[in-house]
Each structure stands twice: as structure tokens, then as C-alpha cells.
Assembly symmetry: C2
Homo-oligomer: 503 residues x 2
């Protein structure tokens, strides 16, 4: 492993985009914390990764005329849009054998990237003789209602249909459509998703047990709603990750904020900070800088994965700086270690990305994940203020969020009490270095609603492509998941036989 890693240019560009996404947001509500997404380019350009994650030639793309509103019977509800899904049937054992289906549920982005990134499907197609299916989430990529992006994103009237209940119903309809089309009525379906998509996978299994036999919900923070999970949990884990990587790095970061504040309060302080951090544009406020740093620390913690372990990369920069250097020079060295050598940093010119804009609607309607920063972290405290959040969303879209809807519709409170004797066949997988893991299910709920986590894992790591360099704990986590799913299938086939249904 090269250390510090040499980052290729494309990767840098990608990270620039990613980080710029993070900077624009509704600060009061902290919707600027890292989005829920399986990958953030952290490993996307690694050679091992590239060799293992190749877009298959066997992918076929389809479009399904999807109902705009499943839960209303107004004339406009019957409008349809073309929803994209992709299939790979090369390894499928066929309908006669009721061979299984692995169905990846798209999250908050276009499907394209997922076709390579979601290794769990490619890597397991042969093991399961499975049909692979990937379905794009409504309003993302090529699955846009109302004929055009402009129309679809015009205002709350066209955005109103853009929510998780409708998306899960879409997935259910497409899976049933595929099974009917292939006459694979008794093929068991395992839905797979990561992050927001992982929530969707677990909820689909809970709401539509007749559609999916089981779900692999990777890094799905289904408990990060209402007050189920302490609001400060996310940044506590970011802090823990850094402290475990390096006590001195943690201390340096922890001490840096007041230094930034002090300099910012001086005459020409913002210019000084702009110079220290080689910003692309003069800083308009110290929070511009602080937010970007916060977000960088959060992203690297969330995706602190092998083979690079970006937390270690950042801390390598900070700790490796000359002892006599100023504290902010050390911080800057961390930025450079992570971002590589560039002409400028922090606030490069950028547009709001499509995904960012769309996910903002989702967080401003129902996906209200109340992350704040509490005391005893390496950050300055910044509590989540629900009222401010609601006001900001209202001013953006004209309609307020429904912050309790997720727990009303999907549950979450006292999950063990509720699901201990209800439901089955869900794996909640997590890596404990992922700050979102604290909003995940980390304890077995029943014999078949299971928590599979790794101490050193990061966000969605288990569903990314297998690589030669994977550490043993990761290999084992994936093996455990496959074994559990094989067990569900074996039981299903036995039930099918016992109930004497002939496919």
C-alpha cells in the first residue's frame, strides 16, 4: 500500500465535487452532513477496485411505465413515468428451478455508478445462481417523472410524489413485474441496499413480505429519526475514529477551532485564514472554513475503509507536519495529505450537484435525520434545532417537513420489543467506524432479524466489490451475510415443498 497514497487526477476531481456538495446546505439543520450514500469516491479509483468492479457486458436496461402516485386515485395519479431498471441474467438458474433474485434498490443517485459499485450482486451471482436486478430510485438518473427535470423539480407540487413510500411501492411493482414476465413466481427475492437504500431494503421487506423474502440493509440508519438515537452520536463517532487513529491528531483538531475563531475576529483575519488554507476564493466567514473542515473529517470517518483508511491519511498529514508549525498549518497539512497537491482548497467554484439538490428535498420532506454536535467531541458544539430546520425547509419549498412520519410509517422506537416477534429475514450490517452506524440496528432482534457488524468497518463497505486486499474481518462479514441468506433460501425452498406449491 502506498502511503501516503497517490491520488489520481480523476479521483481528485471527484472528491472536489463531493466535498463541494457537502459545503452547501442548510447549516442550522445540518443537512450538510455527509449524505447517505454507499460510496463517496473514497476507494473508487483504487486499482484493486477497478479490476474487480467491471461493468458486465450482460447488463440489459429496461424501462417500466411506473405509476406516479400509488396511494391516490386522482386523474393525475395515473400518470406514468419511465423508471429504469437493469438486469443481468447470465448466472440465473431459471424460473423452473425457482432460482433466486438479488435486487439492488437504488438510493439517492443515478443507478449507473451502482452497477459497478455494488459488488455484493456481481460477486454473489454465481454463488446463488441469481438473477441480478438493479432498480433506479424515482426522481434520480433517468427515472424522472413529468417529462423533464425542470418540470419534476419545479416546486412542491411536482416534488410531492418524491418520497420513500412511493419509491418502495415502485420497487415492489417492478420486482413483481419482472417475476411475472419471467414466470418466476416462486423465485425468492433478496433486496439489497446501502445507506438510504439500505433503509428502503429493510422497509420493503417489512412492508411487502410477499415481494421480498429477505433484505440486506447495509449501513441503514433506520433509528436516526425522532429522538431514538442521541443527536450527537454521529460526531461522537467521528471524534472517536480520529482519537483512535491518533491522540495528537485529535488534540490538534480539537484545539484548532478556537484558533480559527481568534484569527477570524482580528482585523483582516479572514484574509489570513484564506492564505493559510490557500482557499480558491476569499473566505466570507469563518464558518465557511469550519464547515468544510468538519465535513472533511466526517467524510473520512464515514468512509474510513481499507486499503487507505482516509482518517489515517488526514492524521498522517496533521501529525507529520513540523512540530514547530502553527496549529492551522498542521490542519492544512491534513487537508493536503487527503486532497493532494492542488492550486487551491476549501471553496472551489462549483454548482449544486443534481444529487445534492434532490437529497435536500428528501431531507426537507420526510428524511429528517436530526444530527447535531454535542459536547465532548473534537468539534465545537452545534445542537440540532428542529424549529430552525423546519423554517428553512419551509422557506425553500413552501411546505414544512414531516419530521415524525418515518417513525409513524416505518416504526423505529423500541424496535426490539416490536420486531422481536414480528417479521423476519433482515440483515442490518454496519461498520462501527461509520458514524451513521450509531443510528443502525446493532443488536440481533430475533433469530432472523440480525445485526452483523465489524469494529473496523465503514459505510456500506460490505456491499462494495470484493478485493484482493480485503482484510479478513471484511471477508468474514460478507461470508456471514451470504451464509445467513443461504439459510433463508433453504428454509424457503423447504417451505415451498412442504406447502406443495409446484412452480
Amino acid at each position: 500500500m502506498n502511503y501516503p497514497p497517490k491520488f489520481p487526477v480523476q479521483w481528485l476531481l471527484f472528491m472536489v465535487m463531493v466535498l463541494s456538495i457537502l459545503l452547501i446546505g442548510i447549516s442550522a439543520g445540518r443537512t450538510d452532513i455527509p449524505r447517505l450514500s454507499p460510496t463517496r469516491g473514497v476507494i473508487i479509483e483504487h486499482p484493486d477496485f477497478l479490476s474487480s468492479a467491471i461493468v458486465s457486458d450482460d447488463l440489459q436496461t429496461f424501462y417500466y411505465p411506473q405509476t406516479l402516485d400509488h396511494f391516490n386515485y386522482q386523474p393525475q395519479s395515473y400518470a406514468t413515468f419511465q423508471q429504469r431498471y437493469v438486469m443481468n441474467s447470465k448466472y440465473w438458474g431459471g424460473a423452473k428451478k425457482s432460482a433466486p433474485v438479488l435486487a439492488y434498490l437504488g438510493a439517492e443517485g443515478p443507478l449507473d455508478e451502482d452497477l459497478t459499485l455494488i459488488g455484493f450482486l456481481n460477486d454473489n451471482a454465481v454463488r446463488f445462481n441469481a438473477l441480478l436486478v438493479y432498480i433506479e430510485h424515482r426522481y434520480y438518473g433517468k427515472s424522472i417523472p413529468f417529462g423533464s427535470r425542470e418540470e419534476a423539480f419545479k416546486n412542491a407540487s411536482t416534488l410531492g410524489y418524491f418520497n420513500s413510500a412511493q419509491a418502495i411501492a415502485d420497487y415492489a411493482e417492478i420486482i413483481m413485474h419482472i417475476k411475472n414476465k419471467l414466470r418466476a413466481f416462486y423465485s425468492p427475492v433478496i433486496v439489497v441496499g446501502g445507506s438510504y437504500g439500505g433503509m428502503l431494503a429493510s422497509w420493503l421487506r417489512l412492508k411487502y413480505p410477499h415481494v421480498a423474502l429477505g433484505a440486506l440493509a447495509s449501513s441503514a440508519p433506520i433509528l436516526y429519526f425522532d429522538k431514538i438515537t442521541p443527536r450527537g452520536a454521529y460526531f461522537s463517532v467521528v471524534t472517536k475514529d480520529f482519537r483512535e487513529a491518533s491522540e495528537s491528531c485529535y488534540q490538534t483538531i480539537r484545539n484548532s477551532w478556537s484558533v480559527i475563531d481568534r484569527i477570524a475576529s482580528q482585523p483582516n483575519g479572514l484574509s489570513t485564514l484564506s492564505m493559510i488554507f490557500k482557499t480558491c476564493k476569499p473566505l466570507k466567514s469563518s464558518s465557511e472554513l469550519k464547515n468544510e473542515l468538519e465535513n472533511m473529517y466526517a467524510v473520512v470517518a464515514q468512509y474510513d475503509s481499507p486499503p487507505w483508511y482516509p482518517v489515517t491519511v488526514v492524521c498522517g498529514g496533521i501529525d507529520g507536519a513540523n512540530e514547530k508549525q502553527n496549529i492551522l498549518d498542521k490542519i492544512f497539512a491534513g487537508v493536503v495529505a487527503y486532497k493532494g497537491n492542488r492550486s487551491c482548497y476549501i471553496n472551489p467554484p462549483t454548482n449544486e450537484s443534481e444529487t445534492y439538490v434532490k437529497w435536500r428535498w428528501q431531507t426537507c420532506s420526510e428524511m429528517v435525520i436530526p444530527i447535531g454536535i454535542g459536547k465532548r467531541t473534537m468539534f465545537q458544539p452545534e445542537p440540532f434545532n428542529l424549529n430552525n430546520f423546519i423554517q428553512e425547509c419551509k422557506s425553500l419549498y413552501g411546505v414544512p417537513p414531516r419530521p415524525h412520519w418515518v417513525t409513524s410509517y416505518y416504526g423505529g422506537h423500541d424496535i426490539k420489543l416490536i420486531l422481536h416477534r414480528f417479521g423476519s429475514n433482515i440483515i442490518f450490517s454496519n461498520g462501527l467506524r461509520d458514524p451513521y452506524s450509531r443510528g443502525g440496528v446493532l443488536e440481533n432482534i430475533s433469530e432472523s432479524i440480525l445485526a452483523v457488524h465489524t469494529v473496523n468497518g465503514s459505510h456500506c463497505l460490505d456491499i462494495l466489490p470484493e478485493m484482493e486486499s480485503d482484510p479478513e474481518w471484511l471477508v468474514k462479514q460478507r461470508e456471514t451475510e451470504v451464509k445467513i441468506i443461504k439459510g433463508w433460501m433453504a428454509q424457503y425452498y423447504a417451505d415451498l415443498k412442504a406447502i406443495q406449491i409446484k412452480p
Copy 2:
């Protein structure tokens, strides 16, 4: 038991209304088969019933500002309407003890009548120390959106929100609201419903296990969708009920249709039929007469309950007629035996009742229950024609039904395979004389998804008030249900203790 029973005047009036409802309908789709409703006045005026079913003084009425559209975030989705619910807390053990809640989910009618008719709540309040809650279904009774009945029923644009998924979400929200208001966070809730309301109860438990611990779904034909249940099953059971009551009665009815057709085809035949059946208005077609007779047989079979057993009443009339009488005179004697002495029969002047009009929308949008009449019944065959049904609904409302939506959203196909290892705590109760029972769950699905049925029971009989005259099998059925529910609660309280949640 008086035989033939003397029917009081009010009851006659009620039956006139009821039967007139049944006559108006979309004949091709057989939406004129008896509605799904717990009672049809068949026992409502019985003295035993009246003494046991008294509206409690302890009922309190509330209105909840309910969200118009739970599954959309358009500005108009946020509109609210006042949804009525009623509580009786006289017998409740209180929040500190986490004493249970029995929640009746309103079906396709105003709530008022249910407050007396749903004996299961009143009769069990003391046994469970339960809080009683009754919630009205949106668009019925006093729970009308859009400010007025006229506005709400104007067209598909205002009717679009009138569907089961929205109704179940309403119930979930109100139950959570009540629990929060009373700080009864850990009180187990058992939802109870009959017929369509029984379907809602079972679906609420399946979709919102965090809201209801269990469901008693009485006479809920959740499998009478798509082609899960043979379309002719309903009228096969009607036939069986009559044949079991009296072979000669069955034969007389069976032979009557061709006689009606023969007479109708003669010159002045319709006048002759109008005279024989003392119709209130001259018949316009023979099917007017045949439909009403069909519906009468269906209603009495569906509600063939003690102490009167209306099938026996009708057959008493038919079989009791003079042997030498014409076959149609015998049939008419059956009508008179059932309806009592009146100045005219068959087609009294009437308006489409509110409930009829509303339920028609529900059948024309999602509740497509494909009942037809097959061969080997005592009726003339009349297959269900889905295309005709769709066309008629389209011409009524401008939008077509979604006939597969119920099984897409709630499931139903291969229910044992699907729910054997998923979900828990549902009682599907049925009386096998009820023709809808054939679309019900008649077999245990798992250890706690149970079928409790009686050979001689009728539609929703188990949830009606206990009466002195109840036969032993009915008393036992109710005892079984109470015992099962007590078992769920005992397990729940044990789990609560084990998980160490302190209410």
C-alpha cells in the same frame, strides 16, 4: 324463538333501505352483491340485542386534525380534515399499568351505529381493563374532507384520497396520538374490525406492527381479490346454505329463474310478474326482479345468524306455501315471510344511500372483489367480467380501478408461504355460512396468525354483542378469541419486562 318471527316496523323499514341499496349497482361487475358490513339490520331490533347493546354514557367524542394525504408532499396534501373518534375510558386500567387498548376501526359507514353494534369492545372492556377507542373511516359519517360532502364527492380529484392505505395511516396516526396524549406509550393496542374493517385491522397489524400488537379481523375476505379465491365461491356458499336449510326450498329457487324468464318473454309478461310479486312499481325488466331476489338470498345467507336464521325464514315461506301453488307464488311467499306484510315489494321508491355511493367508489378504485356466479349453484350463471367492470367504473368516475393494487400492497397470494415465518398476532375469524368466508383465511398460518371459524356462524357474528340466546358454539368462538388475545398480551408484558422498559 318465535317462528316465523314477528318483525317490528322499524326493522322492516331498515330492511327496505338495506335491500334497496343492494338493487342499485353496476350489474356487470356485481358491485350489487351485499356490501361488506358487519350488520345489515338482521338482528338489530331483537330484544336480547337491544338490552345488551346500549350506547354507553361514558363515550366521549373527539376530532383529530387528520392529514389529507400521508404519501405526498404537495401543498394540498397538508390540508387536514376533522376525523371523528370516540373513547370510553371507564374500564381502563390506566397508563401506569400499561393497560390495553381495544381499538375498533370503522368500515364503510358512519361510526354511530358501531358504538352499539360492536359488542366485542363493550363486552370485553372489563375483562381486559381496556380503553375503548372507535375511529371513523375517512369520507364516512362526520369525517369528511374538503369541508363538505358535496366537495368531497365531486369527482375523482377529491375522491382520490379515499382509499385503504390512507385510511390505515389515519388509524395509525390517531392511535399514536391517543397513546401520546394519555402517556400510555406501552399500552398494547388490539385493533378490531369486521368485514372491510376486518381487512383494515389485519393490514394495519401487518403494516404498522409498532402501532398495534394484534388484530381481530372478523369476516375479512382478504383473499377475495385477483384470482386467489374462485370467483363463484360467494354464490356457491349461498346455494349451500339454502340447500342445507331445505332441499325443496333450494330446488324451488333453482327452478324459479327459468319460469321468470318464460313469463317475462310472454306478452304482458312483466305485468304478470309485477302482479305476482306485488311490486311497488311496474317492473322494467325481468333482471330487476331477478337481481332483487338474488340479493335477498345473498343477504340472508351472509347474515344467517341466530336467533332467527333468516335463510330458514325464507325457506319456511317457500316450503310452507301450498303444494299446489305456482312456483313463483312460493318464491313470493318466501319474500313475504322474510319481509313481513307490506303494501308492496321488490322495488320501493328509494334514493341511493350515502354509504352505497361511497362504497361504490371504493370498489371502483381498489376494492375490486370479483364475485360472479358460476355453474352448479341455485342461480343462473353470471360470470364476473373484469373488462366490463373497468369500463363501467371508468364511465362513472373518469378513472379506472386498479384491480391488482390490493394484492400488490397487502399481498394475499400464497399467504401461508409468505406469512408462515413473517408477522404475528392476527385472528382471522369467520362463520362458514357467510359466503364471504370463502375469501377469508380459514387455516392457521403460524402459531399466532390464526383462523378461528364456526361451521354455523355468519358475517361478523363474533364481534356483535353477546346475547342470552347465543348458541354454545358462538360463546366458545368468542372465548377462544379472548383467550388468544390474552395470550398475546401476557407475552407482550413479559417481553416488556425482559427488555426492561419502564413505562
